[in-house]
């Protein structure tokens, strides 16, 4: 159990300091072909402090909750070590002191481990019984509870429990040209009891996935080259996160990201509005709601692109001062021993006005790309996504499935080519973003019609 109220330690602060107690609890279960290959739990918690001296940060952490005094002292010494040598002479930050408390712990009775395993076995048994021709099947369950409390010397304080529960299923089948695989995930914000009901509610997810597998096993390789495509929401979400979001993180802008050249310029189709939401979208909590960030700043929505114009970047306190703006509350840390970095929260392309069916119907020869496997981008906004599920579009109709491929491009060029944006939005809450540390993020968006480079064989 973490220390929920840190105020008794405030007298130990001698300069600007953040004190955080945090515990991440993870449950991880996976069955491969009916064999339980993962059945683990972990609970990792402790305290950390970060102190600021003249422009230099010192950070220290220790496991458990009985070394708070030592951790604050060590962080202060670490800041002094750098300050004495670097001598930057920066002033303290302008104080901010928001207060928030928010828990996404379930209020329902908790299920036992045995009941959760039964849920998984039922799903695995359903697949094994209904689809015996599969060469391989995997079902998995991942739950993360991040519980933290934060106090800053300015008086900002936070207690939060963010929970994520994700069911994953992967199916593969042997074909004459080798094995073919598809996967899907379901779930999102909340603990198991709030996210899933009866296992039968996931049967349609499995059945739909199997239909895709059947089509993909007879699929074709996509033609390489620049093609007109509809990127479904899962791919649009990765586009928003990887291809634009990272280039608009202020530390990467400072390091030379191409987004630094585009502020207040038209950099995308006027149909594109792209936002990193803090915690709420259309009255509902986002997949990874952040109310106060790990520097004690009130988290606010940050519009990155509005009707095609780049409007701003995501900031922590340090970058905000460098850029002469206010922090947007994007400083986040994953484990208790991690320092806050500028990270995205819930990044989406905001829905437009087109219907997905009309978007597909409008393409003569192209692809409907549905499911990414992973994605990466760099400071030029050049990106690549693996695509593991998609279909040909021929004369406005969906055609044959396509085999795994990679798409790539320069994000701002791709966004300039967008001619339609769908009127719906789907969230994904399974993503972990990597940047020194991992961090859970929400992403999603509308589907977009654009021109994109296909890497065929």
């Amino acid at each position: 159990m973490i220390i929920q109220d840190l105020r008794t330690y405030r007298s130990l602060f001698t300069q600007y300091t953040e004190l955080r107690a945090q515990e991440n609890r993870i449950m991880n279960i996976a069955y491969l072909n009916g064999n339980l290959v993962r059945n683990t739990k972990s609970a990792v918690g402790g305290v950390s402090a970060r102190a600021y001296a003249g422009g230099s940060w010192g950070f220290a952490s220790a496991p458990g909750y009985d070394q708070v005094r030592e951790v604050i002292s060590e962080a202060t010494l670490n800041a002094a070590f750098l300050d004495q040598r670097a001598k930057k002479g920066h002033a303290p930050f302008a104080p901010s002191c928001p207060v928030a408390e928010r828990s996404f712990a379930t209020t329902k009775p908790r299920l036992s481990q045995s009941e959760i395993m039964q849920f998984m076995q039922e799903l695995d048994g359903y697949i094994a019984g209904k689809y015996p021709s599969l060469s391989s099947r995997t079902v998995s369950l991942y739950n993360l509870d991040m519980e933290k409390s934060l106090l800053t010397s300015d008086g900002a304080s936070l207690y939060s429990l963010l929970a994520r529960t994700v069911f994953g299923v992967s199916l593969s089948k042997d074909t004459a040209t080798g094995p073919v695989e598809v996967f899907e995930s379901a779930g999102g914000l909340g603990q198991f009891e709030d996210v899933f009901g009866e296992p039968q509610s996931l049967f349609p997810v499995i059945d739909t996935l199997y239909e895709h597998l059947e089509k993909k096993s007879e699929g074709v390789y996509a033609e390489a080259g620049l093609k007109e495509c509809v990127l479904d929401s899962a791919l649009a979400g990765i586009l928003a996160h990887e291809a634009i979001g990272h280039t608009a993180e202020a530390d990467l802008v400072h390091a030379g990201s191409v987004a630094g050249d585009y502020l207040n310029q038209l950099c995308a189709s006027p149909l594109i509005t792209l936002v990193d939401f803090a915690h709420t979208f259309r009255g509902q909590p986002c997949p990874m709601p952040i109310y106060i960030d790990d520097e004690g700043t009130l988290a606010e929505d940050q519009v990155l692109i509005e009707q095609g114009v780049l409007k701003g970047y995501m900031h922590n306190k340090h970058s905000a001062r460098r850029f002469g703006v206010s922090s947007t509350g994007n400083a986040r840390a994953y484990e208790y021993f991690d320092e806050p970095l500028i990270r995205m929260r819930n990044t989406v392309i905001v829905p437009g006005h087109s219907k997905l069916a009309d978007m597909i119907a409008s393409i003569e020869d192209g692809y409907y790309l549905m499911k990414p496997s992973n994605g990466q981008a760099d400071t030029t906004s050049e990106f690549m996504f693996g695509v593991v599920l998609g279909y040909e579009i021929k004369q406005g109709k969906l055609g044959r499935a396509i085999r795994d491929l990679t798409i790539s491009g320069v994000a701002f060029d791709v966004l300039k080519s967008v001619t339609m944006v769908s009127d719906d939005l789907k969230w994904s809450n399974a993503g972990m973003c990597g940047k020194k540390q991992l961090i859970p993020v929400g992403m999603g968006g509308a589907a977009v019609k654009c021109r994109i480079n296909i890497g065929g064989r």
Binding site: N35, G45, A60, A62, P179, A255, T380, M384, T406
Partner: protein
């Protein structure tokens, strides 16, 4: 609790575990961070984790905790036994058999923080002076001391104490409105004798960053040669091992090599292995994750598959031999050509310095972007490229090796040469 593993061993016996293992890991890390060329953060962390695994009636559970008071440990073990009770039976679950008690000391236990600061400051200064168009992004110089104590119910008692410095730097170049793709490298070090800029491939990559401001799109599409740089090779080898040699691929039966042990699966120039005990590897390890003393393993010898990379569970499950270590620490034997000779042998192709792509399919198909890469024609490296994709099959790529360089780069966690191969589809902007 300092003797948590003893406490847990006694308790797990009482709780009726048939077999169990306890791994207590204590880690202390100190790191200095640059933001740009400015020192931004000094971070010191401690962590302790206790990982417990128990098997009862052929059912297994695992739990990891880091709060080691008696109450927390009792709760963890209760939860562990519940995990066991609710898991499925599998006779492949096991723990390592009795072995002599051993302790291993690797690398420097204490960091020299003043020397770290001086080296990092000089790295920032030298980079600014030699590569004025380069912008440093995330640059981290760390020392980690990891103490691990592995015990199990067969009496295994292995411990290690490992200290290692690691240096990572991520950067790009900027000149007016031009930005290069980011690139990065990392190195693990047992001592602080060398300037950081002289380690592994940093100077080469920083120099290339400025060149890559002038990257051009490559027209058309062709099947050609590639020269894979040491920085790029490590990632491809990791893909290769997990796609064809690892637990998941062999248990699922998706590995193309599942029946190829002792047979030729790659070009005969290729010999490589996982060598965590090699004196050339600063960031090695002495104890495997399943409780054996690690030994160096040759995976491919002159193109012939010599070992899978199976854990104890994977080996039991597939009735094959367990690998003698837990993987990584790849060492590829040097070839008999120079890098210049490899380039001279390319009629048309790419020098691939970084691969940004999806995880290969189970059959080894891959497709991704050649980042920080150069076009080669008629034996000459001509210009850096952007928006260029490569596609092929990982198994085929390693059967079509044209040559391996005599020069190798020591990353501390791997020792890798340049590898030239053919048969890769290269697509420029069309």
């Amino acid at each position: 609790m300092n003797d948590a593993h003893i406490y847990c061993s006694d308790a797990l016996r009482r709780l009726g575990a048939d077999k169990f293992q306890c791994v207590l890991t204590r880690k202390k890390q100190v790191e200095l961070n640059l933001e740009g060329t400015e020192m931004s953060l000094m971070r010191s962390t401690q962590d302790v984790t206790l990982s417990l695994m128990a098997i009862k009636d052929l059912r297994k559970g695992e739990i990891t905790v880091n709060i080691l008071d008696q109450k927390s440990l009792d709760e963890a073990m209760s939860s562990l036994m519940e995990l066991c009770a609710t898991s499925a039976q599998d006779d492949a679950y096991d723990i390592s058999p009795p072995q002599p008690k051993q302790h291993f000391d690797i690398g420097p236990s204490e960091p020299d923080v003043d020397r770290m600061y001086a080296l990092l400051a000089r790295y920032a200064d030298h980079t600014t002076a030699r590569f004025p168009k380069v912008r440093l992004a995330e640059t981290i110089f760390a020392h980690a001391l990891t103490e691990r104590h592995f015990t199990n119910s067969t009496g295994v008692d292995l411990s290690s104490r490992k200290g290692v410095y690691t240096f990572t730097s991520l950067f790009s170049a900027k000149d007016g409105g031009k930005t290069s793709s980011f690139n990065y490298s990392q190195v693990a070090l047992a001592d602080l004798e060398q300037e950081l800029l002289q380690c592994s491939s940093f100077a080469v990559l920083l120099g290339q960053a400025a060149e890559q401001l002038e990257a051009r799109a490559l027209p058309g599409k062709f099947v050609g040669d590639v020269i894979i740089t040491p920085d790029c090779l490590g990632g491809l080898l990791s893909f290769y091992v997990s796609t064809f040699l690892g637990d998941r691929a062999l248990i699922a039966g998706t590995s193309l090599f599942k029946d190829k042990l002792g047979q030729k699966v790659a070009g005969e120039q290729l010999t490589f292995g996982a060598r965590p005990r090699s004196p050339q590897i600063a960031d090695g390890y002495a104890i495997t994750s399943d409780g054996f003393v690690a030994e160096d393993v040759t995976l491919i010898e002159r193109g012939v598959l010599k070992s899978f990379m199976l854990s104890l569970y994977g080996a039991n499950k597939t009735k094959r031999e367990r690998a003698k270590n837990s993987g990584d620490c790849f060492v590829v034997e040097a070839g008999d050509k120079t890098y210049a000779q490899l380039v001279a042998g390319v009629e048309r192709g790419l020098l691939i310095a970084r691969y940004s792509g999806g995880y290969p399919s189970a059959n080894g198909d891959f497709s991704g972007v050649a980042k920080n890469s150069y076009y080669i024609e008629n034996g000459k490296v001509l210009y850096p490229v952007n928006e260029t994709m490569i596609a092929g099959n990982l198994a085929e790529l390693f059967t079509q090796i044209k040559g391996i360089s005599a020069e190798r780069v020591n990353f501390g966690g791997a020792l890798l040469p340049y590898v030239a191969a053919t048969g890769v589809t290269i697509s420029g902007k069309q």
